[in-house]
């Protein structure tokens, strides 16, 4: 006699999520990466990198909640970043799944938590949550991923008129190393204001969060931003 103390465990939630999302993503060209744990991805590779939707679960006794992120890797950006880090930060090991863009309904809505989906206690709840994910993907997720296939569009978002000082608590992030990647993206996008963007980046990184000023030595190639600029110049 087995008594189920959970209405919906993570594993049960995973099975049902697959049931309600797999066909949806398959039609869009995404394949599920099989995993032993409850976390998994729907991935779609293309010649520029890959798009992915990562799904996980939070315990919410007696049920579970979906936690997800929409991801994009642009190989050109990540490979240049890896080359830069070979010299400036050799302790950072290149990762084939390092990401260039990451967002979710929460970040787009300005809610910065992974606990933003409704609780799921039964199959109907899972269907509802999956419906929310589908709705988000159709209205925002897929269009955003598609838009950023053009690196100029990504550059426009972060380096354009509404110049970002950070990607922290913004609608999407660059998967870490924002200061470096924004410069790489500007360079790849052939942004005519490249030098200005570099200058602004130095200014931002010279302002300590406690309000004090830090003298950033722009000629010190052991520092990541000067080396990034130097490296990109060698590619011209």
């Amino acid at each position: 006699m087995i008594m189920n103390i959970w209405e919906l465990s993570k594993i049960q939630a995973k099975e049902l999520t697959i049931k309600y999302l797999e066909d949806f993503f398959l039609l869009k060209g995404y394949k599920r990466k099989k995993t032993q744990s409850s976390y998994f991805n729907f991935d779609r590779k293309d010649k520029t990198g890959f798009d992915s939707v990562a799904i996980g679960y939070l315990e919410s006794y007696p049920g579970s909640k979906i936690s997800y992120s929409v991801l994009k890797r642009i190989d050109k950006v990540e490979l240049i970043k890896d080359k830069i880090f070979e010299i400036s930060e050799p302790e950072k090991v290149p990762n084939k799944r390092s990401l260039t863009v990451a967002f979710s309904q929460a970040t787009v809505d300005g809610i910065f938590t992974n606990n933003f989906m409704p609780e799921m206690l039964n199959e109907t709840d899972v269907e509802v949550s999956c419906g929310i994910v589908k709705d988000f993907m159709l209205k925002i997720g897929f269009p955003m991923l598609e838009k950023f296939n053009d690196i100029k569009e990504l550059d426009k978002e972060i380096n354009g008129d509404n110049f970002w000082t950070t990607d922290w608590q913004m609608p999407f992030n660059l998967g870490g190393d924002f200061d470096i990647k924004r410069i790489v993206i500007a360079w790849l996008a052939e942004n005519p204001n490249f030098e200005e963007i570099v200058d602004k980046t130095y200014d931002i990184m010279s302002q300590n969060s406690d309000g004090t000023y830090y003298h950033y030595d722009r000629s010190d190639l052991s520092l990541r931003i000067p080396y990034t600029v130097h490296y990109l110049n060698t590619l011209r």
Binding site: M1, I5, I11, A54, L99, M205
Partner: protein
């Protein structure tokens, strides 16, 4: 001496967890160094007498017992999952699934010496042999567990621990049994065979088992489940809802303003690499990005929820606390959880500024007390 008697005699006084730890040592050595530790096969080795699994004894259980191994006891899979690293356990489990009784019969621990030559050859031959030996040892352990299970009623303590382990695994699956004897861990077996057991859940709970200094019994298990319920209560009722009273007290312990804490990125169940090869799961994490002398830093504040004031942190939590206090620069978010990277990029270096504990009064209630750990 009868075979069962021999097994029982050998295991008397041995702690079950200790046996599993031995398995970990064996399997990791196999995978990392591709070498069977001598103490497991060389009866001249000083460690042989202390080894919890003696090949000749267990392989000599007889054809009947070997045939039963086709239905590999749930404890083998569970034992491997909790006793080995996740990746290695998965590899071994896949190998175990392909094993047939006929193959098992051909395995003799005495042949291990011959294999050493093949290891020396390196390459795929070495890997293949190492894999086979890993399976072999797993099978010996399965025999050991089988022996324990068969003698469970006679060896009260081991039987009780085995029952307790099964209950914990069931809890990890979201199930608990009213009648331990009846289910006998079948759900674990099925989950492992189907590949749908949440390995991470088991790992976390396994850590708690290994950390348990007190007797692993049903009361301990009940408290484990209550602790999970209480943690969820705190998260849903106070943290997610930005409860003013809770945030006033938490921010005071953290030494920051309530408004600042409320404005931070909030992450639940964050897996954190401690920097020593292990990871801990932080119940609630608040984080902010700062710029310090031209570098970006992520500062984090952590809450751990405990059922009562007397509930001790797990070993991994203590390791995390120590690393934080020591100002370790090797603490990072764990990359496997890509579902959280939209709010915290993977492999981000974390600087832990403060840790608090929210504890209950031993029951699943609205009571909470907050104290500073670091």
């Amino acid at each position: 001496m009868a075979e069962e008697e021999e097994v029982r005699t050998h295991y008397q006084g041995l702690d079950f967890i200790q046996a599993l730890v031995e398995v970990k040592e064996a399997t990791l050595t196999l995978c990392n160094a591709a070498k069977v530790p001598e103490k497991y096969w060389d009866d001249k080795d000083a460690g042989y007498a202390k080894s919890p699994f003696h090949g000749p004894t267990l392989s000599g259980i007889g054809d009947g017992a070997i045939a039963e191994l086709r239905d590999i006891p749930e404890m083998v899979g569970f034992g491997l999952e909790i006793a080995t690293e996740r990746g290695k356990a998965g590899e071994l489990w896949n190998a175990i699934k392909s094993i047939t009784p006929a193959k098992i019969k051909k395995m003799a621990l005495g042949a291990a010496k011959e294999k050493l030559d093949k290891y020396a050859a390196g390459g795929n031959t070495m890997k293949h042999e190492a894999g086979k030996d890993g399976v072999q040892i797993a099978m010996f352990v399965s025999g050991a567990v089988k022996g324990i299970a068969a003698n469970g009623k006679k060896i009260a303590e081991l039987g009780e621990v085995a029952d307790a382990l099964e209950n914990v695994a069931d809890e990890a699956l979201g199930q608990v049994s009213k009648n331990v004897d009846e289910i006998a861990g079948k759900s674990i077996n099925k989950a492992l065979k189907d590949g749908d057991l949440d390995v991470l859940d088991v790992e976390e709970i396994a850590e708690e088992i290994k950390d348990a200094t007190t007797k692993v019994d049903k009361t301990w298990l009940e408290n484990l489940i209550k602790g999970k319920k209480y943690g969820q209560n705190v998260t849903n009722k106070y943290i997610k809802s930005l409860d003013d009273g809770y945030f006033t007290r938490a921010s005071k312990e953290f030494g920051i303003s309530k408004e600042e804490l409320k404005g931070m990125v909030q992450i639940e169940e964050l897996q954190i690499n401690i920097g020593n090869g292990n990871f801990a799961v932080a119940d609630n994490v608040w984080s902010k990005k700062v710029v310090v002398e031209g570098k970006i830093e992520i500062h984090v504040y952590i809450n751990e929820t405990k059922l009562s004031a007397g509930t001790a942190p797990t070993k991994r939590q203590n390791e995390l606390f120590s690393a934080a206090k020591a100002g370790s620069v090797n603490i990072t978010s764990k990359s496997i959880r890509e579902d959280v990277v939209s709010i915290l990029p993977k492999d981000t270096k974390l600087i832990i500024k403060s840790i608090i504990k929210t504890n209950g009064n031993g029951s699943v209630s609205d009571f909470y007390n907050i104290s500073k750990i670091y």
